[in-house]
């Protein structure tokens, strides 16, 4: 995966540390990388993802910004046009909407409309998803809005190792990348049982992370588990919820962690579904028009004659994220189990 001489020794990291390390490594290698966003400077970010970077690289390379997401992205685009490689943070993905016009009409369109005269090599980091009692405006999963937009890549890691390698690839990429961080698993892989003690990354193999530079290629999925009974497509927090549920139920599922939604690793998906003949899609975002719809459409277009049962979507419900009923909303083990029963029933 790594394929890089500069990866160096591996150490234990949680996902926040891995993300921090990716920026640290890239800032040291490339003087054009700058980090910006609300509270990312002296304080190091409300989730501490940028901790220590300002002290190390100085205020002109790591700085706090005014609270205007339009401005954060607009300014980052201008910096990118100058020749820098900005890594703006949007404090919560729920607050990306004010910047949507700059992201969609500008960052995503700049290369095309100028025939590559100007480009926007920016990586927008943002914590997303629920499971932390954040209420409606600290829990959303807006990836489905961006995957519909031509010209922007969407990346979602599920482990510290991938988070660092993917973030490095995203920063090095010459196109705008939306890098969504599943905040529920910043500190440890979440098995979906909110009422059990939480785990940290120390026991997980992908919590072992090289200290130096390595890449995880964008556009490549990971097969988390090989199996024959069905294919499960998932990403982010859901990779762990699905894996754990499958293990508990003892089902021989093939679990694919998409890692990049656009561009998608269609080959991995197609190969797997053609093998298993059944497909389940799991995401936390609301159902209607979520990325699961696209996955379902693609799978049936490409694997129609191999499908033995309808593709199942297990997703967040089509409501805002309800504060107190968070765990009934969350597509956790109960809902995945029921969907599996349905999908495997004949």
């Amino acid at each position: 995966m790594s394929g890089d001489d500069e990866a160096g020794a591996t150490v234990r990291m949680n996902m926040i540390q891995a993300i921090n390390s990716a920026m640290d490594v890239m800032m040291a290698r490339d003087p054009d990388v700058v980090v910006m966003g609300e509270d990312v400077g002296y304080f190091g970010g409300v989730f501490r993802a940028t901790a220590g970077l300002q002290a190390k690289f100085g205020k002109t390379r790591v700085f706090d910004t005014p609270i205007t997401e339009i401005g954060i992205i607009g300014v980052a685009i201008g910096m990118g046009a100058y020749g820098l490689r900005p890594v703006p943070e949007i404090q919560f993905a729920d607050y990306i909407y004010p910047a949507l016009d700059q992201l969609v009409s500008e960052a995503a369109r700049l290369r095309y409309r100028s025939a590559a005269d100007f480009t926007a090599p920016i990586t927008v980091r943002s914590p997303y998803g629920g499971g932390i009692f954040g209420g409606q405006t600290h829990s959303q999963s807006p990836e489905g809005i961006f995957t519909h937009v031509s010209g922007i890549k969407t990346v979602i890691p599920s482990t510290p190792y991938d988070a660092k390698g993917l973030l490095i690839s995203a920063i090095e990429d010459n196109d705008p990348v939306l890098f969504l961080e599943p905040k529920r698993i910043y500190n440890g892989p979440f098995d979906g049982h909110y009422d059990r003690p939480s785990k940290n990354w120390s026991a997980h193999p992908a919590g072992e992370v090289p200290e130096g530079h390595y890449r995880v290629e964008l556009g490549k999925a990971a097969t988390v588990r090989s199996g024959e009974a069905l294919t499960i497509l998932c990403y982010g927090t859901m990779v762990h919820v699905v894996s754990n549920t499958i293990e508990e139920l003892g089902i021989d599922a093939e679990i694919i962690d998409l890692r990049t939604l656009v561009p998608l690793d269609i080959e991995a998906i197609e190969t797997s579904v053609k093998k298993t003949g059944r497909c389940m899609i799991v995401h936390e975002a609301t159902r209607t028009g979520g990325f699961g719809a696209e996955l379902s459409a693609l799978v049936q277009e490409r694997c129609f004659y191999h499908l033995e049962a309808p593709i199942e979507r297990v997703t967040g419900f089509d409501t805002p994220y309800p504060h107190s009923l968070e765990w009934a909303y969350f597509p956790g083990p109960v809902r995945i189990t029921e969907a599996l029963k349905k999908l495997l029933k004949d």
């Binding site: 304080f43 002109t60 409606q136 419900f317 504060h323 009934a328 109960v334």
Partner: protein
């Protein structure tokens, strides 16, 4: 990138830095505090262009001796002053208790308004009871001043069975239309254009009610703030636009919202809107400025922006530890003092209050809050089972539930049943 031209000095980027960081001694002696009573009070019908200076000074009524002085003195009677003091002290007592409740794991989140109680309470008293408020998350004082039940506030904070918002919202994101309190949003500054729209509607209908809105100085950077001021000036909307400059936006000092270059009241000047800069820890100044702005709005003279200069004495929220980014000495060194103490001393100076009564009132308020808390906890606390029925999650997305939500609701119930939970 081309090399810099040799014959020109290199450019450099200015990145603001607050004066004090952890470990530094806080010293606010360079903060310009004009004497109470020194700002002129124009007629509320005067054109905004005539009093730009009020955007650059501090309107203050209470002097260091606790006297109310100067043209902005609202001359409130003692009863009104005592109500004001009581509401402010109640806000503080409520905040203390709920902060602790969060720490005890009874809910997920809380936000105090310590040091900023005057801004919500005094402004509310200067408004009519049916004027509509579009607050940010730090104006719980509006509800308390208007007599909204503490128990209901707590029910919301606990997301319990008694929560009028059915457990759907983050704690403190109240909504209380019958108390003229608009639903609080998690997204900053969105309420600003909404307040202007409400005010425009009221004007279009020939109503007499006006709107008031609040946002933090950090939030003024949002595009919504600008849209709101633009609409407000264009249509001369009867709205009061409050900017609570408590100098911090989570860990970012006000320099990142533009405070190094000018005041926030000066934003008003840029649109030709009336702008007042007020000592936000002076309840009488807040009252007087709001009253003036309300009169202006009600007589079709249009909007007023009021910057309330204050200090966020505590952390941003229960998720925040301010000693990680600012001097621990700041809250005490802050020169404009504590709004509760200042109003108390004024009442004492008037001979209308004393320390004993104040101490007794504090006890009484703490008791009242505690009683309310017990009452609220009968309805449950967050995560302890006494929540709304699961099906309610699907209600209220639309007025009528469409088929897909009905299906999802049925599916959820069936799945939970199948799983035996």
């Amino acid at each position: 990138m081309d090399a810099p031209r040799a014959n020109l000095p290199p450019l450099s980027l200015h990145v603001p830095e607050p004066k004090f960081r952890p470990g530094d001694e806080a010293d606010f002696s360079d903060v310009d505090v004009p004497p109470a009573g020194s700002a002129r009070r124009p007629d509320s019908a005067e054109p905004a262009a005539n009093f730009h200076e009020l955007a650059y000074t501090l309107i203050r009524v209470l002097d260091d001796a606790g006297q109310a002085v100067g043209p902005w003195n609202p001359r409130l009677d003692a009863q009104a002053l005592r109500k004001m003091l009581r509401s402010m002290a109640m806000v503080r007592a409520f905040d203390e208790r709920m902060f602790r409740a969060q720490r005890q794991g009874k809910t997920s989140f809380y936000m105090k308004s310590t040091g900023e109680e005057a801004i919500a309470v005094a402004a509310t008293m200067a408004l009519a009871a049916d004027d509509m408020c579009f607050p940010s998350y730090r104006q719980q004082g509006i509800l308390i001043t208007r007599g909204y039940p503490l128990v209901t506030m707590m029910n919301q904070i606990y997301s319990n069975k008694g929560d009028p918002l059915q457990g759907r919202q983050l704690p403190i994101m109240y909504s209380a239309k019958d108390h003229g309190f608009f639903s609080i949003s998690g997204n900053l500054a969105t309420q600003y254009p909404q307040a202007v729209g409400w005010a425009m509607a009221s004007a279009a209908k020939g109503d007499t009610r006006i709107a008031a809105t609040w946002c933090g100085e950090g939030s003024t950077a949002e595009g919504d703030f600008h849209s709101a001021l633009t609409f407000a000036t264009v249509y001369r909307a009867p709205v009061i636009l409050n900017v609570v400059n408590n100098q911090w936006a989570i860990s970012s000092f006000s320099g990142f919202a533009g405070a190094e270059a000018t005041t926030f009241a000066a934003r008003a000047v840029g649109y030709g809107i009336a702008g007042l800069r007020v000592d936000g820890n002076d309840a009488l100044a807040v009252y007087a400025a709001t009253q003036w702005a309300a009169e202006r709005a009600r007589t079709n003279q249009g909007p007023t922006l009021i910057e309330h200069f204050t200090y966020r004495a505590e952390g941003h929220s229960t998720s925040d530890d301010p000693t990680a980014y600012r001097s621990a000495g700041e809250p005490n060194a802050w020169p404009l003092g504590d709004p509760v103490r200042r109003l108390k001393e004024h009442l004492i100076a008037l001979g209308e209050w004393d320390e004993e009564r104040h101490a007794a009132q504090d006890l009484e308020l703490a008791e009242e809050v505690k009683r309310a808390q017990k009452e609220a906890e009968k309805n449950g606390i967050l995560g302890h089972g006494m929540h709304q029925p699961f099906e309610t999650m699907f209600e209220g997305v639309f007025e009528e539930m469409p088929w897909h939500l009905k299906e999802q609701s049925e599916q959820m119930i069936a799945e939970r049943k199948a799983a035996g939970i």
